[in-house]
Structure formats: C-alpha cells, structure tokens
C-alpha cells in the first residue's frame, strides 16, 4: 500500500473492521439501554457499564496478549485456563494458611509464589513445543487437562475464600479506574514497547512465518518459541490473580473456564492469523473488548441463556468474514451487481490472500 491517506493506512493495518464491530456493539447497547453510556464518579471511583466491560475484560485482555505472541510463532496455548485456576488456588491457599491471613505480606508472598509456579508451567509448555517438538495444540492440551486437577489438589477440592484487603485490590480495587484494567493496559504498553522498540517483534514474526529460514538466518528460533510460552503462562497467572481476587476466592473448577477460547478468538478477531507471523497487539486488545462487550450485551439484552453461545458465535463469524478480503469481495460483488456494473476494485479485492485469519483457521482445522 503506497497510499498515504490516513484512512487507507488504517484500513491496511487491519484494525478498521474490529473497531467498527466494537462501535456497532456499543451503539446497539446504547439504543437498547440509554443508561449504558452513563459514567459517574462516586468516592473517587469511576462507575458505569463501560467501566464494567473494561474491568471484566481485563483478564481476557491479558491472556490474549500472551496468546497473541504464542500464535505469532505458529503456536497455540490451550492451557491458560488451567493456569488461571492454579494461580488463584496457590495464592488463596497460601493466604488462608499464612500466620496473618489479612496482612499484605501474605498477599504478596502468595502472589509471588503463584507467578513463579506459572512461569515454571510456561517453561514446561515451551519445553514440550520448542525442544521436544510436540505440536503446540497437543503439548498444551496436557496441561489444560492436568492443570485443573493440580488446582483441585492444591485446594483439596474446596472453594477457598480469603479476606485480605491487599489481595482484593488486584481484582476489585480502584485507582479512579479499576486496578485490573490498569494492570492490563500497563502490560499491553510494556509488551508493545519491548517488542516494537527492540527487534524482538521482528524475530518473533520471522520465526512464525518461516521457522526453518529463520533458523538458517541465525535466529534463536527455539529460545524465542520457548520464551513466548513462559510469557503466556505468566499473563495467565496474573489474570488468575485478578479473577480470584475479584471474588476473594479460588474455585479450581470454574475459574477461567473456557477463557483460552475467548483469548484465541480475541487474537483472531484482532486480525492475527493462526498461521503465525504478523501479529497485532492493538487488534488483540480490541478483540478482547469485543468479546467482553458481547458477553455483557447478551446479559443486558436479556437474551435467553440457551442461545447466548449461538449469538456469540454468529457475531464472531461475522467479524471474521468482514476481515477476509475474499468474503468481502463476494459480498461487495453481490450488492454491486444488483445496482451497478461490476467494479474492477471489487475484482482486485478478490485476489487470494493467504493470510486472512479465517482462512487460516479453516486451514488449521483441515490439517491433521
């Protein structure tokens, strides 16, 4: 794209359609429930539906950021939900068993131990993928299934509740905005800075696009792949702290259930291909917001729980189709044929693009 018009450049960046989808969802909510957009400040805290979306979406955002880098290296991490459960379980058990279960010291020590354990779990995933060479989807399936069992062992099968103000801050605290959203944004800024200001982003993309060419060019392909799994696990660990801290309890069975799917969807909706390579952190954040807004919409519109998941699926498919140049061209051609003679632009847009997220998804599914 040689065009310098800002709109064209924006379109080329792939962020246009996710942004449109998000705005449409927000508008639909505002129409159904005008109070949706209202914000108010009470006791120095910002309240409102929009703030709720940000707050509840923070764990998904964090996990999606980690997932995004994993996917960029042609991988996938299914174990993040289990890691969420483990992280909460470890922290709550530690706090509950500490000498002073309400003290800040217990909270910090517990969180430190939990995150260290998560890093070890990430090392394990990365080891299986990068060193042993197991396909990522299988390698992380191991921890996905075993992880909840580990969390159950840690909590003895009970839901552990804690009363610790310091710990509660992570998931439920406010600093004008909810602390959890501040953490998510900080991590986003940090990752963006580290990957784009250094050469790390380039190396990650290169490994994802062509692992063998990258190895022969002298990249530490193995180390890079290993590292992204560790990062993803730590992100999942922090998200686990947020989730359990928000309810002051650790629920080994339900904490972070299916959150890996939401995270993968967020990455894909944000325009990153499951085939690896080029990734967009901003798109991923947008994708996570879309998913969270969708969940909120489903509740606030009173859509029956039975069709909730179907509704979610329909919106996700719509966004993915909008991003695929091929699908867009077909739609455009349809509508134009009805009104005007075919436009070469639409034809040109029909060129096969190998890296649309949806086509890549289909490819992945089709592969053994």
């Amino acid at each position: 794209m040689t065009s310098t018009r800002p709109l064209d450049r924006f379109r080329a960046s792939g962020l246009l359609w996710p942004l449109v989808a998000l705005l449409v969802l927000l508008a639909a909510n505002a129409v159904v429930r005008p109070s949706f957009l209202a914000l108010r400040i009470q006791d120095g805290h910002l309240y409102g539906s929009l703030v709720d979306i940000l707050k509840n979406g923070a764990p998904t955002m964090l996990i999606a950021l980690g997932m995004c880098l994993v996917i960029a290296t042609r991988g996938i991490d299914l174990s993040v939900g289990a890691v969420v459960a483990i992280s909460g379980a470890v922290t709550c058990s530690y706090i509950a068993g500490a000498g002073d279960p309400t003290g800040a010291g217990a909270a910090f020590a517990g969180m430190g131990i939990a995150l260290a354990l998560c890093a070890v779990l990430g090392l394990w995933n990365g080891f299986l993928v990068a060193v042993v060479g197991i396909q990522p989807i299988i390698a992380t399936l191991v921890l996905m299934t075993a992880g909840r069992g580990i969390a159950m062992l840690i909590t003895d099968g009970q839901i552990i509740t804690v009363r610790n103000p310091a710990y509660r801050t992570v998931g439920a605290g406010f600093l004008l905005l909810p602390v959890s959203i501040l953490i998510a944004v900080a991590v986003f800024a940090l990752v963006a800075l580290v990957t784009r200001r250094t050469a790390l982003g380039l190396l990650i993309e290169s490994v994802g696009i062509n692992p063998e060419a990258s190895r022969l060019a002298g990249l530490r392909a193995r180390t890079i792949r290993w590292t992204v799994y560790v990062f993803a696990a730590i992100c999942a660990g922090v998200a686990g702290l947020m989730i359990s801290s928000n309810v002051s309890a650790a629920d080994a069975n339900n904490a972070g259930l299916w959150i890996e799917m939401d995270a993968i969807l967020a990455v894909v909706i944000g325009g990153t291909s499951l085939a690896g390579g080029r990734y967009s952190l901003t798109g991923t954040m947008l994708g996570a917001l879309i998913i969270q807004t969708l969940t909120t919409t489903v509740y606030s519109m009173g859509i029956a729980p039975e069709i909730t998941l179907v509704f979610k699926a329909v919106v996700v498919i719509a966004v993915c189709l909008l991003q695929a140049p091929k699908a867009r061209a077909v739609l455009l051609r349809r509508t134009r044929r009805r009104h005007t003679p075919p436009d070469p632009d639409a034809e040109a847009a029909g060129r096969p693009s190998t890296h649309t997220p949806t086509s890549a998804m289909v490819e992945k599914v089709a592969q053994p």
């Binding site: 040689t2 050469a199 993309e205 696009i209 060419a213 990258s214 022969l216 040109a348």
Partner: protein, 519 residues
C-alpha cells in the same frame, strides 16, 4: 491489441488467446494490455527479465489473478477461471514457479492427489504408487514413490510437480521455470516428454532464463518487458542478440561487455586458509571429506543431482550437524553446533530452497535484508533505522532489486528478485566465507552476469566463496578450484585449468547402481 483481429488464413486458430490483459497490484502495474496467443502443437516460450510479468500472465490465464481488463478465450470460447482448479478442469495443467506441493505427503500421493486410482471406493495405495512410479520412470527419475516429498531436494520436487502436471490429459501445459534447478540429464528427459506431448497436439507454454534451452525447445516466443508486450516471434527468426535486446530494451553491447569481463576467476588466490575441514561427514548424508578454502578463493562444487553438493554445504554451515571430523576457521577450532555458531565465525549460507529455507515471505524487503545481521546482534540491540535504510538502499541498488521499495513484501516479488534479496541478506553481514547454493537460480541473464561479477569481485577483495551450481560452465568459469561430488562423497578436486568435459567425465562415470539419484 496489436495482434490482428482477423485470422490470418495461413495460421491455425490459437487454442488460447488473451487480449488486452492488464493486471494491477497496489502500486504495481504488473501487466498492461498484453496480447498473447498459444497454438496447439507448439512449444511457446515466454521471455522477459525478472519481474517482467511472465508468472503474472500465467496466473492471469489460470485464474489465480483476475485481470483488471482484457479477454481470454480458450478454444474460441471466452473463459474467466475463478482459480487453478477450474483451469485444470478446462484442460490447462500448470506447474507454477514456486513448487506447490504438500511436503508431508508421499511422492505418489502428490502426483496423483485428487485422482488416485480407487478400489471399492477407497484409495488404492498400491495402485497409486505403481502408477506414480511409472510416471516418474517416464521422466527418468527412479525414486521410491512411497517416500515423503520433503525428504527430496528441490530439483526432485520440481520433477514431481512436473510429473503431476503431465499425468493428466491436458490440452495446455504450462511450465513456469521448470528447469531452474535441473541438471542436463533431467532437462533432456523433460524436453523429450515435452516434444512427445507437442507432437500429440498439446500446447505448451514454457518459461526459462536459459537461452540455450529456449532455443532448443521452443517454436515461438513472446517477449515481455516491464509488464508490456514487446513482440511475438518465431524462434527461428529471432537471433539471441535480438532477443536479449528486446528483453532488456537496449542494445546488447554493454551487456556483452559485462558478460565478457564478468565472473572470471581472478588471478591466483592466496594460500591463507579461511576454513579447513578434516574428515567432516554425516552418516546418510555425506561421506567424510577434507576441504580447504583459502582467502579470496572461489571453490566450485560440481556434481549431479543427489551427489551431495548441497549436503556438504549444509554441513559446513552447521545447518545439519556433522557427526565426524573437525573444522577450523582462521586456525581456530569451530564446533558446528548450528547456524549461529557458523555465522559467528563469519560463515554465510544461501540456501537453494529460497521459498522453504530462504526468504521470509511475509516480511518486507527491508526486514529480510537485515534479518541475519539483526539475529547476530541479538534482539535487544535493534539496528538503528538510519543504518538499516542505508544498507537497504545500497543493496537494492547494487543488485537492482525491483520494485526498489523497501516496504514491499518479499513474497510478492518475482522469483528472481526474491533470490537477490536472499543474497543481499548475507552480503550485508560481510562474511569471511560465503556459501552459495544455486545463487543464480531463476535469475535473468542480465542479473546473472551481475551476480557472477559480484562474486568475482568479492573474492578479489578477500572473501572466500563456495559456489554450487547445476550449470557446470558457470562453476568452471568462476572457480579457482572445483570439488567434484559423486554418490554423496567428494571424488576429486580440480584446479583452475579444469574444463567442463573433465568434470563430466568424473561425474558421469558409469555407475553400478542405476538408482544413484534415490535418497
């Protein structure tokens, strides 16, 4: 739309006719109002420099791209294919420039994919392999059809792709640079098959940068330049000199001069060794060999397909780990754990498989150019933008990479330009020893002389070069010394006075095992 609208009475009707074809990509007019005709029972060569639009014309014909303007007729009927599958169904069988097969399927499956012999509704594996073996034998290739495709070198993969295309009864056969990595013998087999098909009335479209091959096989040629049609001629009526000046758009004089001066091995190289290998080998790959490469010396590697030339190069670079022997670089022992160790010692390796092991298609020219250098620097020390821009500008100019836009994605460049980007990636790192595996594969004659000249110059400046090519003439002309490989072992080392015939005699020496090619 210059070609006569009415049929000249003497000529048969073209089988394929394209009129006023234009194809545009963002910022690039790849084809502008090109006319093209292809007659039954002819071999038609499509000629032009790298990036002239040859592959694009083929893709416009087979429905990979939809032209922005123009009409295509097949057998007099207007057609517009939505994709290669539809073109295939209409009788157009195509081998695209970049081998497009499934690396993890077997050779037999690749050849017969989608049209396997069936028994009781299920794919008959044995019949599939038997049929595939037959087709391969027809091309003089004796490999196990049950072996996985990825295990074979790129040249064999290319032959498999051709076998796949030939296996169907097509009216039109399109071969985009099918010979770029083949040896003389395979080319001869391929031409035999092409002539046979032509005599049966098949229309064949052929692309190659080897003029000898074009003159040997083609009946007619169409020349493109910068996306425009320059002319259509009978091969017998167009001299090579005229063809080349049509292709490059200026008089040949300058080019001939360059060619004469280019790529001659310089005077005696120094005797200071850069790399010494003693007993280096790897089981199942290359038998242990000794090799010494001096500063400023070009060492050619010659051998047939499957003789182990690529494997030897990979060992020297640590792309495959040697399991015996010792390597010293500048007198210091080098433990070849992997490419990083080799790169740190000043060795660079340009793979022959540019799609699979070379360029990173979805990254820009800029990112591809600095990739090896950046990897050596480490992730934490990004190359400053200013330095990057200088390097990129310099090498785009030096190798005449087109388009000269550093932001263009390498995957969208023409084949020859991708090759140049790969070469530049390693030149940027200023290595002590540069290993080039088929560096001129798919490169047009102008650029080829340019690259050969560059190699000679680099050697003169002290760089040691290992040069691998299926073109023996090229190897002989450029090298101070030629190492001859056969059956995965080094069999001889010839000095500068070696001739192509000497080498041929060594490598064509009759073999007890006819299946020398098999991996």
């Amino acid at each position: 739309m210059s070609v006569d609208a009415k049929q000249a009475p003497a000529e048969p009707t073209p089988l394929v006719r394209m009129r006023g074809i234009s194809v545009e990509f963002p910022g690039v007019k790849a084809l502008q109002e090109v006319d093209f005709r292809l007659f039954p029972g002819e071999v038609h060569a499509l000629m032009g420099e790298n990036g002239a639009g040859k592959s694009t014309l083929i893709k416009a014909l087979t429905g990979v791209y939809t032209p922005a303007a123009g009409v295509t007729t097949l057998d007099g009927r207007e057609v517009s294919f939505s994709g290669p599958a539809e073109a295939q169904a209409a009788g157009i069988s195509t081998v695209y420039q970049e081998v497009n097969l499934c690396p993890n399927l077997t050779v037999a499956e690749n050849i017969l994919l989608g049209r396997e012999p069936r028994r009781f509704g299920a794919v008959d594996g044995r019949a599939t392999r038997a049929r595939a073996a037959e087709l391969l034998a027809d091309m003089g290739l004796h490999i196990d059809p049950g072996s996985v495709l990825a295990e074979h070198p790129i040249a064999v993969q290319q032959l498999v792709a051709i076998a796949r295309a030939v296996a169907v009864d097509a009216k039109v056969l399109i071969l985009d640079e099918p010979t770029s990595s083949l040896d003389q013998d395979e080319v001869a087999e391929l031409f035999r098959i092409m002539r046979h098909l032509r005599d049966r009335g098949v229309a064949i479209l052929f692309v190659s940068h080897f003029l000898e091959q074009v003159y040997e096989i083609s009946d007619r040629m169409t020349v493109l330049r910068n996306g425009r049609l320059v002319g259509e001629h009978r091969t017998s009526e167009l001299s090579r000199l005229d063809l080349v000046s049509l292709m490059i758009g200026r008089e040949l004089g300058a080019l001939a001069e360059v060619e004469r001066l280019a790529g001659q091995a310089g005077e005696e190289a120094s005797t200071v060794p850069v790399l010494e290998a003693r007993g280096v080998g790897r089981k199942g790959s290359v038998a242990p060999f000794d090799l010494r490469i001096n500063r400023g010396e070009v060492v050619g590697l010659a051998g047939l397909l499957g003789s182990g030339r690529t494997e030897l190069a990979r060992l020297l670079f640590g792309a495959d780990r040697p399991d015996s022997g010792q390597v010293t670089v500048d007198g210091r022992a080098l433990h070849l754990r992997g490419p990083r160790a080799a790169i740190a010692a000043g060795i660079a390796f340009c793979s022959e498989d540019r799609k699979g092991e070379g360029v990173v298609a979805d990254l820009s020219i800029r990112d591809n150019l600095i990739l090896a250098m950046q990897a050596a620097n480490g992730w934490a020390r990004p190359i400053p933008r200013r330095v990057k821009d200088q390097l990129v500008e310099k090498w785009i100019k030096a190798l005449d990479i087109r388009p000269a836009n550093p932001d263009a994605l390498v995957g969208k460049l023409s084949g020859g330009n991708q090759q140049k980007v790969l070469l530049a990636r390693w030149l940027v790192t200023e290595p002590k020893l540069l290993i080039l595996d088929e560096p001129t594969r798919g490169i047009d004659i102008g650029a080829k002389t340019q690259i050969q000249k560059l190699v000679a110059e680099l050697a003169q400046e002290g760089m040691a070069v290992v040069y691998i090519s299926a073109e023996l003439e090229e190897v002989v002309r450029l090298s101070h010394r030629v190492v001859v490989m056969k059956d995965r072992a080094k069999v001889a080392e010839l000095d500068q006075n070696a001739t192509v015939d000497d080498i041929m005699r060594l490598i064509a020496h009759v073999d007890e095992r006819p299946e020398a090619v098999a991996a």
